[in-house]
């Protein structure tokens, strides 16, 4: 076991509190904390975890389960998953309770609208950082280009694309 469960709980709780803008923002957040700061995972393992979280049902946020598992085994995975979701579940319960009274919602929605470009910038930066440090050979760039084209111009489910990519990797390596 690499890290104490309390550390894991605290880290994921903090991530849960700044989890704005949907699942993809977790990629830069978790990459920074898990790979660069605590070095619980290598960059490769992080990318493999991303592939796995695309293969399983449920939100992309299940990446937290994977990284938590690495940091502390099954208890780590459980604590990571629970802690990252505590803030948003609590918030939704509060919203549900006061649903009819929340009159200042226009401030919230315009704040969110204004924040989303930063999320876009961060996701783009994540692609840049991850790609820059993990892509090496020409082969990999070709696979990247093909994957990009499929995601961009077809409606194939990511699950099948990733399974296909795994097969291609098996054949060409």
């Amino acid at each position: 076991m690499i890290a104490s469960l309390l550390t894991i709980a605290w880290i994921y709780l903090r991530i849960g509190l700044i989890f704005f803008g949907g699942g993809y923002v977790l990629i830069p957040l978790l990459n920074h904390i898990m790979v660069e700061q605590y070095q619980w995972l290598t960059l490769r393992q992080f990318l493999d975890g991303l592939a796995l979280s695309q293969l399983t049902p449920g939100p992309l946020a299940m990446l937290a389960t994977f990284t938590g598992f690495r940091a502390g085994g099954f208890p780590g995975a459980l604590i990571a998953t629970v802690c990252i979701f505590i803030p948003c579940v609590a918030l939704m319960l509060i919203v549900g309770r006061n649903y009819e009274r929340l009159k200042r919602i226009d401030i919230i929605s315009s704040t969110l609208d204004g924040l989303l470009p930063a999320v876009v910038g961060l996701v783009a930066a994540a692609a840049w950082n991850l790609g820059g440090s993990s892509l090496a050979s020409v082969k990999e760039f070709v696979v990247l280009a093909v994957g990009f084209a499929i995601f961009k111009w077809t409606k194939v489910t990511p699950m099948f694309v990733i399974l296909g990519a795994g097969l291609v990797g098996l054949l060409i390596n």
Binding site: P59, M62, C88, L91, I105, G114
Partner: protein, 214 residues
């Protein structure tokens, strides 16, 4: 995948159009409290959604909408949309709409039951896969296969960034903020968390400012 079109539709929706419909909602809540849905049913329904909800984000929301709004009629379409709008504040909105619907049915217990039910199947699957991965990732076959998936994942992130950018970056300010966040992360190596917090504060400040000056 990032499904942008419904996302945008929700954002362009007037977030709180129900002022005139308050009494309608009230009647609906009354009807709901009369026929209480059992917690076990909530759990099983959302576990089923969690198990079959591939594709993340909006794909799952569409599934929740079909089951809870159309099939079971647990919540009206309008309330569901409000839940979705609120759900974009924090965390994955697929989970948030589940919590919101659960809360709508049975209060806090219902909300927590729905959230746990929704996450449970993916959690078990993900734990199993993580265990398999960290046990067998020295296998050359698996290594080779994963070598193929890595570039594709990067491709997916790029596509997500482009699609999100097309939908969410409106005007000069948005483009400025996006490139500032990109630069801060790539060149200055700033922590994504701080960038996000900074952007949130900036955005909150400017929307308060515009509100007052209007």
């Amino acid at each position: 995948m990032y499904h942008g079109a419904p996302f945008k539709a929700i954002f362009s929706l007037p977030i709180f159009p129900c002022r005139n419909n308050n009494c309608l909602i009230y009647i609906h809540t009354m009807a709901n409290s009369l026929q209480k849905v059992r917690l076990s049913e909530i759990f099983l329904t959302f576990a089923m959604i969690g198990l079959t909800g591939f594709g993340g984000g909006m794909a799952i929301v569409a599934l929740v909408e079909r089951v809870c709004v159309r099939e079971k009629q647990w919540i009206t379409a309008e309330e569901f949309l409000h839940g979705l709008a609120f759900g974009q504040i924090l965390g994955p909105f697929s989970l948030n709409v589940c919590t919101f619907t659960g809360h709508h049915l049975r209060g806090i217990c219902g909300g927590i039951t729905a959230a746990v039910g929704f996450i449970f199947p993916s959690f078990m699957l993900m734990t199993l896969l993580s265990w398999l991965y960290f046990t067998y990732n020295k296998l050359p076959q698996l290594q080779a296969a994963l070598k193929g998936t890595n570039p594709v994942i990067i491709g997916l992130i790029i596509v997500v960034a482009i699609e999100m950018g097309r939908k969410q970056i409106k005007g000069k300010n948005g483009a400025l903020m996006a490139s500032a966040a990109f630069t801060a992360s790539v060149l200055l190596k700033l922590n994504a968390a701080w960038i996000l917090l900074g952007a949130a504060l900036w955005s909150l400040g400017s929307s308060c400012y515009y509100r007052r000056s209007r």
